[in-house]
Symmetry: D2
């Protein structure tokens, strides 16, 4: 990564001649040096997608004006786009219930600075994980949830997210379903970890389903949350081999390791702006 | 494996004290030396399962009487059981359509003697793979299939299998559905390779389904065929990672490698008598 | 595992007829029910090895007399053997320097009771990891080490281990070499994690060595410590794929995940008495 | 890949501002559309590397003049470079001894057109694999080799390669060491498959070495051949898990599957011009 400031541009539009030229010309004529470039053309859909990173050291456009300067380029190609800077950390709220493994993994990797994430708050419908939040000195908000208060509590949560300028929400084995309003507010910004190899075993109790079907491999899936449960764009998946010797508890134990690793990788891709969503699929610029 | 003759006993029954003792006592008192033993107790279902292999060199019961000698033991524990000898090859018919990769893999491994399988005949509803059968000097039977003749052709196939004393049928990307009668005749003896990570993407065109869902990993599944399509006991599964760079054709290319390896491993487990089916799941004695 | 007490016997000797019979007869005639049995015959070396677990509920020999009762059997076959009970936790001392990832992983899995381990103390030549020890409420002993005091400090460490009745030592990225005396005191009871795929890249800076050689895969190895550095019996290994995009720092980051998982698996095998050492190799009864 | 002709440019030089701009400008101003672009900057060594593919359909420079047209660009940046067209097949000679698994795998993938390779001849120091060559209708040349005739035979082989305009040599388990002259003639164009996870177990009998060391994972490595045995730039590696249950023969059996897959992937990368060699390492543009 290096220490000097760099700009990260995600840019996607209908494919057409001259796209790389136009973007690299923009960077070159303002004295930028490209550090990383990953480009993909979906030849079926004729869609061009690029992630391009350049050094801002001698760049002739100041940081605060860069967004505006890009507008002509964006208009010319009618692009979806996002611009980031390498010193920005993604303000992330983690939602948990009682299981600690995913939360612990994220907090620990954050402290090691494995990804550009800051976690200003943790929200839970249970109190069990407060000591872990305390150890990492992160405010912990307890929102007990019942059928009656669910909608009201969610409103309070949203307010809290707003006050804390939260950009991204991670559901780290959070055992509540979010409302459509919540999901709409954080479109492609809510990451969930589902403890199966989706689309197999969507819904509740996936390890039990896997155990009963007698599969030889179990999986975990990190995806963006949409209105439809366990159906959003998949960011990352991984698997582990099991055998007839493994009880349901063994599946849960092995699955814990999958869940936390898959979720952590997904958050790294997301926070480093390596993910582009097109229809219901993701492009991961590794 | 070694060269001297050995006996292989698969034995499963309700769990109870003294099972290992009784079986090993039978072997010991007749002067057999145990070479391999793998035992599993399903503590939930209280089911005992064992695969036990012993040297027949100095064994005091002749081979042809062994089956009868085991009957008191079997009755005492009310067991499901099977007895095999290490010099027996499983007479296997391979059913194919146009894809050669699975067939070629099985023929090649057979010639290398990677598993105790002999293939007296290949059956196909197309003529494309005859040259490959010829190269390996295996009779190739062409049964073109239409809606009208399907049932009649299947009868002829069954007759052919009977004449050739076929024990096991492998569907190596055979693009026809077998009738209930056929399946009943070869209960837990028809191995199919499905080109997805079941239960995800059962049915037709699994690679297309996977491509459209945007999964990050694809799989293949070898299973015994039952009345319900893609639902039988799973013998083996494996996966390979894909990315947004992979077109549908890349999925098919990568999947070919999975399919032939997973099918070959399943046939190895089956032919070495390492598979026990309990309800709709398998125990694999590796 | 279940809740009732069980006995675990590891038993290895020259192969010979009647071994399974004699052992299962001993268990059966004293009213024990075998829960798990894994047997292996090394046909080259003619070595028999078994791990056998039985329920102690109705067993007619009391726990405290079991060891003595086994002696005739052991003498008959001239066996190496060990006996354990399922309610015993392995008293383990963890040695660390500055890296926390392995220690944290072990402490967390211990708290989840993923393995029968208790950690009465942590020893370090640095002070950095004391807060983590405090969070888990485990005594932390700081032994700064220089060339001059090394031998003296090790003596104090050994005394401390003795006082705490320590059975097993885990070197969780401990950056000091133990003396021959220390190693002799804990023969096959010191587990080290080496951050390469041994025997490749033994010695210092394995990630740098791997980076410079341009390998496409890196690994980690958990092994028992012997006099010769990075040469003891291997318990577990695993790998992760890298590419030219990965800097040395990326190797270190990816390697951290390998190291902690491989070490945790090795400690699980060790603490559940699933490891037998024969010459310089291990048998893992999975 | 698609059907229309495309140009593939590999280009590497000291990193500097404007590189992507200059190359994409060249393509754009001659009316080319970029289909694929993968760029890498080694920030330590300050080395820029790119693989860029563009459609030749409306390109204003004719194919036969393209090489010359690129020279100013190449001179400006003092680059190492290569230019290819998508309809060119790599003329490849396969050298074998007695093992067929690698040869068979390559021939079969070639016939399926998994990679742009044609194999005008097979060379062997044994006669065993002639029938396989015949089945694929490829000329098979038998060069028996002894200490006395080795140098002379190699000269004849080189002549044969020249006559057949061979570009790339694949050593598919060829059990002879090539002379320095041979290696010099095909610098970074001889691909060898070594049956271990290099640098572990270089030299002879790697499976035996692995078996004796008691590793838990074995590997295979495809690399370019240099003067130093098993030391050239690594193109691809892969591994498979083994256990104490695996005999030396099991290692050989499992290793066969590794060897042929790793070699096939390496040949695919090589023939699709996805490999750049820098000092003793490779960049793989996947």
């Amino acid at each position: 990564m290096g220490n000097s400031l760099s700009a990260i541009l995600l840019f996607t539009c209908k494919d057409r001649q001259g796209l790389v030229y136009s973007i690299s010309n923009f960077i070159f004529k303002h004295n930028g040096n490209i550090i990383d470039l990953d480009e993909h053309v979906d030849t079926e859909g004729k869609i061009f997608s690029i992630r391009i990173v350049w050094d801002m050291k001698n760049f002739s456009i100041p940081r605060q004006e860069l967004k505006n300067s890009l507008i002509p380029l964006v208009k010319e190609f009618d692009a979806d786009w996002k611009l980031f800077f390498s010193d920005e950390k993604i303000r992330t709220a983690v939602f948990v219930s009682k299981y600690e493994h995913c939360l612990q993994e994220l907090l620990w990797r954050m402290r090691l600075e494995e990804f550009p994430v800051e976690i200003p708050l943790i929200i839970s419908n249970h109190e069990e994980l407060k000591p872990l939040a305390d150890y990492y000195k992160i405010p912990f908000y307890y929102f007990p949830i019942s059928k009656e208060n669910k909608s009201e509590q969610e409103k309070k949560q949203l307010l809290l997210l707003e006050e804390n300028k939260i950009d991204t929400v991670v559901l780290a084995r959070y055992m509540q379903i979010l409302s459509k309003e919540f999901v709409d507010r954080f479109r492609n910004k809510i990451i969930n970890i589902h403890h199966s190899f989706l689309p197999a075993f969507a819904g509740g109790n996936p390890y039990k389903q896997a155990y009963e079907r007698g599969v030889k491999i179990i999986g975990a899936t990190a995806h963006y949350v949409t209105e439809i449960i366990d159906d959003g764009p998949i960011i990352e998946q991984d698997i582990i081999r099991i055998s007839h010797r493994d009880s349901l508890n063994d599946l849960i134990r092995k699955g814990r390791d999958l869940e936390r690793f898959v979720l952590a990788r997904a958050l790294r891709y997301h926070s480093e702006h390596r993910v582009l969503v097109r229809s219901n699929k993701t492009i991961i610029f590794e």
